[in-house]
Symmetry: C2
Subunit: 391 residues, 2 copies
């Protein structure tokens, strides 16, 4: 049995970053950029007016100027201003060649064919002209490799004319649910059965993380079925999550089935509650998590190990970890790292009632996991504790 | 021209919460629960063993007990222990009628047909039995109305056998993009054109918020097209976002087209940069946002007005607002609320270079908007400022 920190180190040292894949920008939010993106164009791409007004030769600002033409935004014409003339422009219009100043229309007396600029304004050369490349030169860095893409980045990429980006692929995940006692939700519960909730909890978390390739398989509590399913899935999927069958009971076939499927055990059992029987193995860098079947253990192991491993594969960070002060003391009686369902608000975290590992009711109001370290015994109110916010 | 706070109040007072819709639990993450969910079953639903071991009559703990039967988890049999006997149970097995104690198998000498409990352990009545309803009574509150569902809630709902929940519907959104200067990304940029990025930035944000019904329409800069499109979309969609055409230029048809389509102007122009020309109207509680075409203005208005309005419709909270200390001073020269692209890390926020409203390069590294209040002038380093984290 190993410590929580050791288990995390082992996983961290064995999990590999995913390969690079190209995705349309609208499907790239939440992905880590695999390569630095350079701007294929300069910003702005042409001299642009930032105002509705008149483009002029600055030295002619005091003259009566005849309106040569109007250049609405979106025009593809290139024009040069003739001497003694002005060209009407709009926000986003190209500034005509020769023009070195745009005067806003409010400062101009305009009779429809000629303009006279009012004399009581401070007009400077370069006014209201966005110079070519003044925001970004062509070939300069748009977004650096490793950046996890926000929706705002998607707009930026589009601004540069980019429609696809190379990102780190998210793993495909197979979920294997063991347990003869499970019954699917939606039907009246038979005596002796419990509803299958782990498949739903795991899927919901993976979906939130943007995992697109997912499969769920149910197996009976026997070695042949368990082995056959695991052996097939480890060939096809990047990561396996198995629930149940991982203790040392008569019906706990998962560790042995994993070994038979060529999965190397990296550790089995962690000094924690809930989730002590956790199994972790690998086959050719593919991580395999054998979680205890208990829904609270599944959830705590998801937050401590599975989600961080997937994050590492993807180059992203899904879970926010912060510290908060406990609102009440807690009598910790077990020499294990303990994870408790908590409710955090404004830096204060409350340990919810009903923490036994089979008790789920606290999940109705919980928004985080609280970590009580292995060595701790009584924990005082106001103690700073590490918390893992629900995703 | 109104203040930012006034604009927010107006929107807040006019936006209505969406109707209730039923969704499969796996599609309910991120939705606000419309009604309190009561548990249709008790937790646990039957007396359950929490150990692999032997169910006994406590008063017979010192006797040699013959093994009557084994009850694996998932069995649907109800059994009563005969006098002088024990029934083998597993984690999750139903505890047989009559049994008032489960002794873990490690504390038992078992020859395959009879067991003798070792005498050097402290055994108590009720050991390792999870009593029926000890976590939740049938009909008690599982999750309260208004809760925004985490993936963990999805597991909890499944545990109770629930497959669908009533949640607050998210709005359908129509996006109208105006601007003859726009060109779609993917093709070489023509002189005088700029790439359409707003459609991508808006879609990416809405997608991240879980908006499923979305349409994009492009219109030419003329009143007839603009009006026709807006009039059609306001009939079919719950919320309209229009970009461009909202200033007072010769090609700015949006406010008039909105009025013609029966949309009541609630305000037009806000004392802010970027985003001053913002238009907001409603028709029969349907919000209509006319954003300036400038991508920086679109983004700042999304975070200040559009996303909060959608959140209000959905009963959710997408944007985290915190305070942070500025890493450097800033000379604020305009008497408007100013939103600046920032990078926040560990409570310190840096104002990025290139803040002019046409400059987008800072979006490559920004992770928040910084708000500088209308009345502020010079802002000192270490000043606490309000920031809006990117979603």
């Amino acid at each position: 049995m190993i410590a929580v920190a050791t288990a995390k180190q082992i996983i961290n040292s064995l999990v590999k970053t995913g390969t690079i894949t190209e995705r349309p920008i609208l499907d790239a939010t939440g992905y880590a950029l695999a390569q630095t993106v350079l701007s294929p164009i300069q910003f702005p791409a042409f001299r642009q007016s930032s105002m509705d007004g008149f483009a002029i030769y600055f030295k002619e600002r005091e003259k009566l100027l005849s309106i040569q033409e109007a250049l609405p935004a979106g025009t593809t014409k290139t024009l040069t201003i003739e001497k003694g003339k002005t060209i009407q422009v709009y926000t986003g219009s190209p500034v005509p060649d020769g023009a070195d100043c745009v005067v806003q229309k409010e400062w101009v007396n305009n009779n429809g064919t000629t303009i006279q600029i009012q004399t009581d304004h401070n007009i400077q050369p370069g006014d209201h002209i966005r110079e070519t490349g003044s925001d970004l030169e062509k070939g300069s860095i748009l977004i650096t490799a490793g950046t996890v893409l926000y929706p705002a980045h998607i707009g930026l990429l589009a601004s540069a004319g980019i429609t696809k980006v190379g990102v780190i692929q998210k793993p495909s995940v197979a979920i294997v649910i063991t347990g003869n006692e499970l019954q699917q939700p939606g039907e009246p519960l038979q005596f002796g059965k419990v509803y299958n909730s782990n498949a739903f909890a795991i899927q919901a978390h993976l979906k939130k993380m943007g995992i697109e390739q997912m499969v769920i398989r149910y197996v009976n509590d026997n070695l042949a079925d368990t082995h056959k399913t695991i052996a097939a899935l480890i060939e096809q999927y990047d990561l396996l999550i198995i629930t149940g069958g991982v203790s040392v009971g008569d019906f706990d076939f998962v560790p042995f089935a994993c070994k038979k499927a060529g999965i190397t055990e990296q550790f089995h059992k962690v000094k924690q509650r809930p989730g002590k029987p956790l199994f972790f193995g690998t086959r050719q860098n593919k991580p395999v998590f054998g979680l205890p079947g208990n829904p609270a253990a599944v959830l705590s192991c998801l937050y401590q190990y599975v989600i961080p491993a997937i994050d590492q594969m993807c180059g992203i960070c899904s879970i926010t970890t912060v510290t908060a002060r406990l609102t009440s003391s807690f009598n910790k009686t077990i020499p294990l790292t303990q994870f408790l369902k908590g409710y955090v608000e404004k830096g204060e975290v409350t340990i919810l009632p009903a923490q036994a590992s089979y008790q789920l009711s606290a999940l109705g109001s919980a928004n985080c996991w609280i970590e009580l370290e292995e060595a701790w015994t009584t924990v005082a109110a106001q103690q700073e504790v590490k918390i893992y916010l629900f995703i």
